[in-house]
Symmetry: C2
Subunit: 398 residues, 2 copies
């Protein structure tokens, strides 16, 4: 068990941000007032857009156009976001054309879902890309971390993310998944790969681990550093119901475990050059997906030997009884599991639940990795989780 969160080798500055910070330092050193607009476009901006603009102190200037509005503000979606929670930053009107602007306090690095709030109605910011979260396309703000670049696009070999479709016998529908294949997959002949099944949180979808999570870039960079086994990552949509099952708002997920076992795994194994033994299959997920991973993994130990819960929605956990008692016998569980990984940010509302899982496992002597660190219920934490988790997978067969 470890509680340290990040390796020293991750602490490379992003070159552009380093340059910016240097420029800012010089500017301060010469006692000239810093230009008000100094900064760089956020990486989450629509290509070519100037705003949102990130300043050297990680404050951010947003602009909006709303000629007829009486009030405009910008606010993160999440009450625990690193963008001042979800307390709005009130924008000021700059001109007759209806340009509004605000510069925030310094923000926490990472990814923040946010809205413009125009006369009380939450809307997307046309200057930013949208990301599927909160059960809709929502604007996202990426605040680079000056100390981390493990999820940046670097000049290393890049794997692909494939958009695939497969037929589900369980739901009767054709479903869409995103699948990461590592660099070299196409040219590695008959080489077969282990598979990590990796799930998103509530209100997100199969695209989220790629666009918000940067799972593909994290893997590209880990692979370039020879820190991880080459693997496929299958990212599915964590919802699904059988015909006739209640499906309120289209978000029923009762059939998702059956979809994974009966449709998704066979589809991935049929389509890709996978290793099909349980030691070569892992399941992980964040939040709702963490609960799903624990449930699907631990009740199907003939299929999976590694299970991970990232800030998982796993409540009232008891190692003796939860998940059909799969972990009740520690000796048996330890023999079966190559890896059981539990992580959570200390400022996460689910931290107490995660701690309960960890402590119950520890009391029962069920071997596991416990990964806690700073952060709330947010993508920056889950990126760090994947960066710790992936290198532990598929290293050896018991």
């Amino acid at each position: 068990m470890r509680t340290d969160i990040l390796q020293a080798d991750m602490a490379h500055s992003l070159p552009w941000l380093a340059a910016l910070l240097t420029a800012a330092a010089l500017s301060t050193a010469t006692a000239a007032p810093p230009p008000a607009a100094e900064g760089v476009p956020a990486p989450s901006n629509v290509r070519g857009r100037e705003y949102p603009k990130i300043h050297p102190d990680l404050s951010v200037t947003f602009r909006a156009t709303a000629p007829n509005a009486k009030t405009v503000a910008v606010a993160a979606r999440a009450a625990d976001s690193g963008m001042n929670g979800n307390t709005p930053f009130v924008m000021k009107r700059l001109d007759d054309k209806g340009t509004w602007e605000v510069t925030t306090t310094p923000l926490r690095p990472g990814f923040h879902y946010y809205d413009l709030i125009v006369d009380g109605t939450k809307v997307n910011d046309p200057s930013s890309e949208t990301y599927f979260g909160w059960n809709q396309q929502t604007s996202g703000l990426e605040v680079p971390d000056p100390a981390l670049d493990f999820y940046s696009v670097k000049n290393v070999p890049h794997g692909d993310v494939r958009v695939i479709r497969y037929k589900s016998s369980v739901t009767g529908q054709t479903r869409q998944s995103f699948v990461y294949t590592p660099p070299g997959y196409d040219t590695s002949g008959n080489t077969r790969y282990p598979v990590l099944y990796l799930q998103h949180g509530s209100g997100e979808n199969e695209t989220s681990w790629t666009w918000q999570g940067k799972a593909n870039l994290i893997m590209d960079n880990l692979l370039a550093g020879k820190k991880v086994q080459p693997m496929l990552i299958a990212m599915d949509w964590g919802y699904g119901t059988k015909p006739g099952q209640p499906n309120p708002g289209g978000r029923g997920n009762e059939a998702f475990p059956d979809v994974v076992i009966h449709d998704l795994i066979p589809a991935i194994d049929a389509k890709f050059r996978t290793r099909k033994d349980r030691h070569s299959r892992a399941i992980a997920g964040l939040s709702m997906g963490g609960g799903q991973a624990m449930n699907i993994g631990l009740t199907n130990l003939d299929k999976f030997a590694s299970v991970a819960s990232l800030s998982g929605a796993v409540r009232n956990f008891d190692s003796k009884t939860s998940f059909g008692g799969a972990l009740a016998d520690a000796k048996s569980a330890n023999a079966k599991l190559d890896l059981l990984w539990i992580g959570c940010g200390k400022q996460d509302g689910l931290y107490k639940a995660a701690t309960t899982v960890h402590e119950s496992l520890a009391a029962s002597k069920v071997e596991h990795v416990w990964f806690e660190g700073e952060g709330s219920h947010e993508w920056q934490v889950w990126r760090k989780h994947l960066y710790d988790l992936a290198p532990r997978l598929f290293k050896s067969k018991k």
Copy 2:
């Protein structure tokens, strides 16, 4: 040259729409008043959302929530859209919670970019998926065509769309492309494939031919019907500038031809099992991308033997002088080109320009396909274009 637009074999009804229309007919037959809300969610809705709802007559009910708004409307982006141009449909407030609703007149089948307009400000509809167009993420409405299903998800083998990255020596940046690989690509051993380079229009990007255009589904269905040669389709972002070149709004595209020739083609040929001869390479694009395809293709006939302009921005065309005089000598051009394909919708603002291209080519006896049909500057036309174009590609080598 042909002017008929669609094959009889495309006129299959969508099963769900057929059922709906039957239900509506029965409902009318028994003289019961049809339920006001009868209809089905648009295929472009966020999964599980009830609205926008498509009615049997292809009128559409939109709903929005805006408690503090004085006026709410819905309008297509394009002045020539099949959603009443861009004339707003004014919504009515239904209740104290700020629910607004409007039912449109019957809409033209196809894909329409649209906005909610809240007190005069254009915003995304949280109930619909967004699509990159108009240089931002914009809400999209898909109105199914009862007579066409060639771009629907069917129970046929599906190819993949791969999100790839490649390094550009021209721009100095790492760029992202979407690449369609046909079903069976992974299991076809050493088989090599021809490549269609397929470009989007102004304000769109590398994702547009997949999400708006359904290029992958069109190919899946054509391949299942054995109507087309298996091919890769490389879809790039049609912008790019060299370091130091002016790049207003991030939308400079002066360097894009160099990117295609010096970076993209080598990257695709290195990564995929492609055929590298000119007869196995085609370039096509819509609108701005049509102009780019004509320019890049016709001035690089050592690389391409097939060129297509879909509602292309090709103005003041003269077969004797345009594109460096590549077509000035008809006999030579006809010998070099396997296919020159020009298409446009009759209600498109570029129809006159396209007609000029066709007539100038015809007068000079440059062999080409001229494809005109009903429709404006819209994705439904470009889907039909691809459905006609793709089967003509890579059939024989001169």
